[in-house]
C-alpha cells in the first residue's frame, strides 16, 4: 500500500468553555476527540456528519488554522508540530481550502483577478510578469472566461463565485484541497456543474480531496472512501461502495435512510432518530451515539454507556466503532 499523503494520529481539538476562579478548565468542548485518519495521494475522502460533529474542525486542523490539543498531523512522513516555520509555510501552500459560502468567502472590494493573483504574488510562485497569464489560465481551468478578471464578486452568481474560490485554491499549486461543503449553498443544477468541475480538476492537476459534506448523496458521487463522524469521533470508515452497500454502524444506517430519494423504487423504511445531536460540551463517557441509538437493546452486555467502542477493521478497509461488531468487544 502506498504511503498516506497526510495522517491524523490520535488528534484531538478541545475548546475551553469555562474556567473556575483559579483559571482551571471546568468545561470542555471536545470538537475532535482522539481521531485518526489517513488520506492517500490521489483519492477523494468524503467526511460526513451533522452540524456540530466536528467535521469542519478536522478541515481546519488540516489547513493549520487550528493547532491540535493532542496528537500529531503527519505530512509526507514529517510531524508538523516539529518542523521549522519555513517548512510549515511550504506545507500550508500544499494544502488549500474551499469554503462553504461563496458569498462570504470572496472580498467584495477586490476584482476576481486580484483575488486569484494575491496568493501567487505573496508566495512568489510566479515571476511578476507571468502572474497575469497564470490568472487567465486558472480562470479558464475552472470554466470561466479570462476576461472576467476585472469583474467584482457581486457580478457573479453563486456557482461562478464558487469557481473563483476553486481557482484561488488552485493558484497555490496544492496537493490536497479541503472542500468544506462546497456545494451546500448552491442550487441543484449548479451543484452538478461544480461537482463535475472538481472531478475533472482532480485528474488534471493530480489533486487529493478531503470532501466535507452533511449529505451522504453528494459524497457518494465524488468520494473514493467515506468516513462518518459523530460528535468528534469517526464511527465508520469504508470504501464508498462498501459503505453504501453494507453500512454497519447504526448511525450510518440512519443517515442513509434519512436521505429523501426521488426514485420511488429505492424508497426504504425510514429510521427516525430521536432528538438532536447531543452537545459536545463535556460529553458523557461511553459511546457518543448511545443516547440516540435505536440498536442499543440488541447488544447485550455491551459497554455502550461506559466506554467509546474502538474503531476496528471488520473487513479489508472497512472500519466501524460499535460494540455490535464482535471485534470491538
Amino acid at each position: 500500500m502506498t504511503e498516506p499523503l497526510i495522517s491524523l494520529r490520535n488528534v484531538s481539538k478541545h475548546f475551553t468553555m469555562d474556567r473556575d476562579l483559579l483559571g482551571r478548565t471546568t468545561s470542555v468542548l471536545k470538537a475532535v476527540d482522539d481521531l485518526s485518519l489517513d488520506i492517500y495521494p490521489g483519492e477523494t475522502f468524503g467526511l460526513v456528519g451533522e452540524s456540530g460533529c466536528g467535521k469542519t474542525t478536522v478541515g481546519k486542523l488540516l489547513v493549520d488554522l487550528y493547532e491540535p490539543t493532542a496528537g500529531e498531523i503527519v505530512y509526507n512522513g514529517v510531524d508538523l508540530a516539529k518542523v521549522s516555520a519555513k517548512e510549515r509555510r511550504r506545507y500550508c501552500r500544499d494544502i488549500q481550502l474551499i469554503f462553504q459560502d461563496p458569498y462570504a468567502s470572496l472580498n467584495p472590494r477586490m476584482t476576481v483577478g486580484d483575488i486569484i493573483a494575491e496568493p501567487i504574488r505573496v508566495n512568489r510562485l510566479q515571476p511578476v510578469e507571468k502572474i497575469d497569464d497564470r490568472v487567465g489560465y486558472l480562470l479558464n481551468a475552472v470554466g470561466l472566461s479570462a476576461n472576467y478578471r476585472n469583474r467584482f464578486p457581486h457580478e457573479f452568481s453563486g456557482g461562478q463565485r464558487q469557481r473563483v474560490g476553486i481557482a484561488r485554491a488552485l493558484a497555490m499549486e496544492p496537493k490536497l484541497i479541503v472542500c468544506d461543503e462546497p456545494v451546500s449553498a448552491l442550487d441543484v443544477s449548479i451543484q452538478a456543474q461544480v461537482l463535475n468541475l472538481l472531478d475533472d480538476l482532480s485528474e488534471e492537476f493530480g489533486l487529493t480531496y478531503l470532501f466535507i459534506a452533511h449529505g451522504l448523496n453528494v459524497v457518494k458521487h465524488i468520494s473514493d472512501r467515506v468516513g462518518v463522524m459523530y460528535l468528534g469521533k469517526l464511527v465508520e470508515v469504508a470504501p464508498k461502495r462498501e459503505l453504501y452497500r453494507n453500512p454497519l454502524h447504526p448511525y450510518t444506517k440512519a443517515l442513509l435512510s434519512a436521505i429523501p430519494v426521488t426514485n420511488p423504487a429505492l424508497r426504504t423504511k425510514r429510521i427516525l432518530l430521536e432528538g438532536d445531536v447531543t452537545s459536545p460540551i463535556d460529553p458523557k463517557p461511553g459511546c457518543r451515539f448511545a443516547g440516540r441509538c435505536y440498536a442499543k437493546g440488541e447488544c447485550v452486555g455491551c459497554a455502550c454507556d461506559d466506554e467509546m467502542p474502538p474503531l476496528v477493521e471488520v473487513s479489508p478497509g472497512h472500519f466501524v466503532a460499535c460494540y455490535l461488531h464482535p471485534g470491538a468487544r
Binding site: 451533522e50 452540524s51 452568481s157 453563486g158 456557482g159 461562478q160 442550487d187 441543484v188 443544477s189 449548479i190 451543484q191 452538478a192 456543474q193 461537482l195 463535475n196 472531478d199 452533511h214 449529505g215 451522504l216 448523496n217 453528494v218 457518494k220 458521487h221 465524488i222 461502495r241 453504501y244 452497500r245 440512519a254 443517515l255 442513509l256 435512510s257 434519512a258 436521505i259 429523501p260 430519494v261 426521488t262 426514485n263 420511488p264 429505492l266 424508497r267 425510514r270 427516525l272 432518530l273 432528538g275 438532536d276 445531536v277
Partner: protein, 370 residues
C-alpha cells in the same frame, strides 16, 4: 401514494384557487416580473409542492398569497380565492384575521424568524390569544399542548426559554407549533427543512405528514429539494423564472417528467442508486437568465437541449394534458432526442427517468406539441 389517493384528494373541495397571479418588483434598473401569470389550486387535505431554484418566484408567490410582500414588490394581476373569497380584495384588518388563523406560514429560516427578546411562551400565545380569544392561562395550556404535539420534550419547561437556548431543529418545531396553533386550514411551508440536518429534516417531514392526518389541513410545500417532494407531496408545480412550467401528480412527475427543465433537475441530483460507474453528473448547461432581461420566447430555451427555433421567439402556452397534467413546452421530450447533446454527457441525457420507446400519450417522434 396510490392512484386512489389522488382521486380522493382531487375530489375534495378546492380551498385555495390562485388564478393568473402576477407580482412585479418595480426598481430603478427596471421591472422584475417575479411571478408571471401563475395559476394553481389546492384541495382540502392535500400537499401541493412548489419546486424551483432560487429566483424562480416560488417564495414570492407564497408571500403574495398572504400579502406579506415588502415594497417594491406588488401584486399586479390575478386573484387568490380562499374558499371563494378573493384575499387580494380584503382590507388589512380582514387579512390579519386570515393570516395565522385560517392560513398560516412556516418561514424559511428558523434562526431568524423568532424574536430573540421574547420567550417561546410570549410568541406562541400571542397568536392563540388573538385568534382563538382565549385567556392567558388557557392560551398557555394550548401552547404547551402544541409544543408536545410537535415533539418537544418537557414543553412545560421549554416554553419559558428564549429562542437562543434551542437548537435549529427545536426552533423549527416551535415555528411549526406556532403555525399550527390555531388549527389552520392551509399551511404554507417555505423551505421548512432546508437549514436542517438530514436526520432532523426526516423528523420534521414525518411530523408534518402526521399532523396533516390528525388535523386534516392542506399544505403548500415550497422547496428546491426534489427528494423532499418525492417523499411528501401529492401534486407538484414546477416553476422556472416566475412561471409554472409543469404541473402533475407527484407520481406522474417522477415517473415521466415532461418538461426539459424538470428532467434536468431530476437528472442532476446525485443519485443513491448502487451503480458501478459514478461518472459525470448530468448538468443543465448555463445559468438562470437575468430577471431584468428575460428571453423573448421560452425562458428555459437558452439552456434547453431540446429547443427548436420556435422556442426562442414564442412563449409556449401552459397546455392541459391528460390526467390534469399541465405543461409549458413545444417539444415532446419523451419522443424527441435532445438537439444539442454536446452540452450534456451523451449517455445520461436522453435516458434516465424517461421510459424507453415511444410513449403512448405523446405524439410521434419529431412531432411538435401545441
Amino acid at each position: 401514494m396510490t392512484t386512489s389517493d389522488t382521486t380522493t384528494t382531487s375530489e375534495c373541495p378546492i380551498i385555495l384557487d390562485v388564478k393568473g397571479l402576477s407580482t412585479d418588483f418595480v426598481m430603478k434598473r427596471g421591472t422584475v416580473q417575479a411571478v408571471r401569470d401563475v395559476s394553481f389550486s389546492v384541495h382540502a387535505g392535500e400537499v401541493l409542492a412548489i419546486v424551483g431554484e432560487s429566483g424562480s418566484g416560488k417564495s414570492v408567490a407564497s408571500l403574495s398569497i398572504l400579502q406579506l410582500l415588502q415594497p417594491p414588490g406588488r401584486v399586479v394581476a390575478g386573484e387568490v380565492r380562499y374558499r371563494g373569497q378573493d384575499l387580494l380584495l380584503l382590507s388589512k384588518r380582514e387579512m390579519r384575521d386570515v393570516r395565522g388563523n385560517k392560513i398560516s406560514m412556516i418561514f424559511q429560516e428558523p434562526m431568524t424568524s423568532l424574536n430573540p427578546v421574547f420567550t417561546i411562551e410570549d410568541q406562541l400565545t400571542e397568536s392563540i390569544r388573538t385568534h382563538m380569544k382565549l385567556d392567558k392561562k388557557a392560551a398557555t395550556e394550548r401552547a404547551i399542548e402544541m409544543l408536545r404535539l410537535v415533539g418537544i420534550p418537557s414543553p412545560e419547561q421549554r416554553i419559558k426559554e428564549y429562542p437562543h437556548q434551542m437548537s435549529g431543529g427545536m426552533r423549527q418545531r416551535v415555528m411549526t407549533a406556532m403555525a399550527l396553533s390555531c388549527d389552520p386550514d392551509l399551511l404554507i411551508a417555505d423551505e421548512p427543512t432546508t437549514a436542517l440536518d438530514v436526520t432532523i429534516q426526516a423528523q420534521i417531514l414525518a411530523l408534518l405528514a402526521d399532523l396533516r392526518e390528525k388535523i386534516g389541513m392542506a399544505v403548500i410545500l415550497i422547496t428546491h429539494d426534489l427528494g423532499v417532494v418525492a417523499e411528501s407531496a401529492d401534486r407538484v408545480v414546477v416553476m422556472y423564472c416566475g412561471q409554472v412550467v409543469e404541473e402533475a401528480t407527484a407520481q406522474a412527475l417522477f415517473e415521466r417528467p415532461l418538461h426539459p427543465y424538470t428532467l434536468g433537475l431530476l437528472e442532476s441530483i446525485p443519485g443513491m442508486e448502487d451503480t458501478e460507474d459514478d461518472g459525470q453528473l448530468y448538468m443543465i448547461p448555463g445559468m438562470v437568465p437575468n430577471p431584468l432581461n428575460l428571453p423573448k420566447g421560452c425562458a428555459f430555451a437558452p439552456r434547453c437541449s431540446w429547443a427548436i427555433d420556435r422556442c426562442a421567439s414564442d412563449m409556449p402556452p401552459l397546455v392541459e394534458l391528460e390526467d390534469g397534467r399541465k405543461l409549458r413546452c413545444f417539444v415532446d421530450v419523451t419522443a424527441v432526442e435532445p438537439a444539442a447533446p454536446a452540452c450534456a454527457p451523451a449517455e445520461s441525457a436522453p435516458a434516465g427517468p424517461t421510459p424507453a420507446g415511444p410513449s403512448p400519450a405523446g405524439p410521434a417522434s419529431g412531432e411538435v406539441r401545441a
